[in-house]
Amino acid sequence: MKTQSNLEKVLAAGHFAVTGEVGPPRGSDPEVVRSKASHLVGKVDAVNVTDNQTAMVRMSSWAASLICKQMGLEPNYQMVCRDRNRLAMQSDILGAYALGLNTMLCLSGDHPRFGDHPMAANVHDIDSIQLIAMVKGMCEEGRFQGGAEISSPPKMFVGAAANPFGDPQELRVLRLGKKVAAGADFIQTQCIYDMRRFKEFMHQAVDMGLTEKTSLLAGVTPLKSGGMAKYMASKVPGMTVPDEIVKRIAGAPKDSQAQEGIKLCVEQIQELKEVPGVAGIHLMAIEWEHRAAEILELAGLLPRPTL
């Protein structure tokens, strides 16, 4: 075992892994984090704590991660390249590890244009693949990106994201390959609704041997309503939602759309479990953390292993 990460242990033991997600609040109340996280304690192997997602200012990812950690969850501390240069990133990684965070996720970050500070400097000193390489260098070679030795190097289980649905399609697996080559220990994908396209992606990834070098967790997000299905289908960059899914959710009676969304999500998880190369799921129940346990129970993924 390279790290103290619970996610690493679960994957190494050969279990089908489950990760969840908590979005920090746009305020300083720790109870908001505790309330969201409380629904996931004991239900997931790690919980992603987002970093100013959708380019909106929120409680810092490391602080909210620490709150989750104190509740007995394994935080997957997210870090984006949009807001910090490599000095700030490395110092945050040292601090996060010092406070007991062992798992992190390296991301580019949404463009500031989408958030509440479109006037902010858009840093991108390094990109997400260079961030993976930087963290690996810190952990495994004990060196800062600038080359100097780290007196007590951190040990992070390092993840990255993959979007099987963005364009150009033929680059999606090649870019995943670059993330794996940079050292990504695990991968979490964008929410999957287009199962056919995802299976093609996985087929290529398996063929290239990528799933032997990294653990790939398939992303799922339950659709809460027909409105949400339509929004995901039309408004979210790099996301594809097949018409039949939008029709299924939007076509259900209003008061049972949520239940239909949960049913669909459970079916998707069961289908994903059978896809070669998939090592687990990443459940992003956006502002629906209290329904996560129900989905995981129905999908037969509870209880979680304790290692």
Binding site: S108, G109, H111, F165, P168, R175, P237, G238
Partner: protein, 222 residues
Amino acid sequence: MITAVRKPMAEILGYAAQFDNILLLGCNECVTVCYAGGRKEVGILASALSLAFLKEGKKLAITEHTLERQCDPEFVEELAQTIEQYDAIFSMACGCGVQTLAGRYKDKPVFPMVNTQFMGASERQGVWAERCAGCGDCVLAYTGGICPVARCSKRIFNGPCGGSTKGKCEIDPGVDCAWQLIWDRLKALGRTDLYSQIMPAKDWRTAKDGGPRRIVREDLLS
């Protein structure tokens, strides 16, 4: 070339209000090519300023002149004999020209008439787009001649990000995804092997992060 757009009239009138006699100075280089500050634009702005002053019942003496290059001390020197006549210089050059004037004529107020934009190229009549970020360490040989620094919204060196859709950037359907263009070019060149190389973290010292930059050519020093 360096591109620019003229400042809003209200801002220019705000600068002009305190003066009676100005030199409105164009530049015959980049800003002429992008129709922002050449001889023609000097004429148009002079007329607009005169008209605005007349409306207020005031008068502004405007001398129109266009230098070959405002960023070149040799041409800026031309003004040495006449500069005393004017209260201020209203420069239609890019920021480089404005600063060359300010450096040479230290007690003369100089005002910018344009907002300098970017280093770009003309896409078609009336459209210019950014092409170079002047990062000081060109990577175009590895990216099929398309610059990820200037043309990717997240200046990603190992792109594309997950937001590339049908060849367009997530920030605006009017913006091409640089990595789609890079990939298309690498395929056309038969050099998709270049994509699989991880481009390492960039050394930004050659860009503006290393402090203000200078080029000194010993062989040309006199």
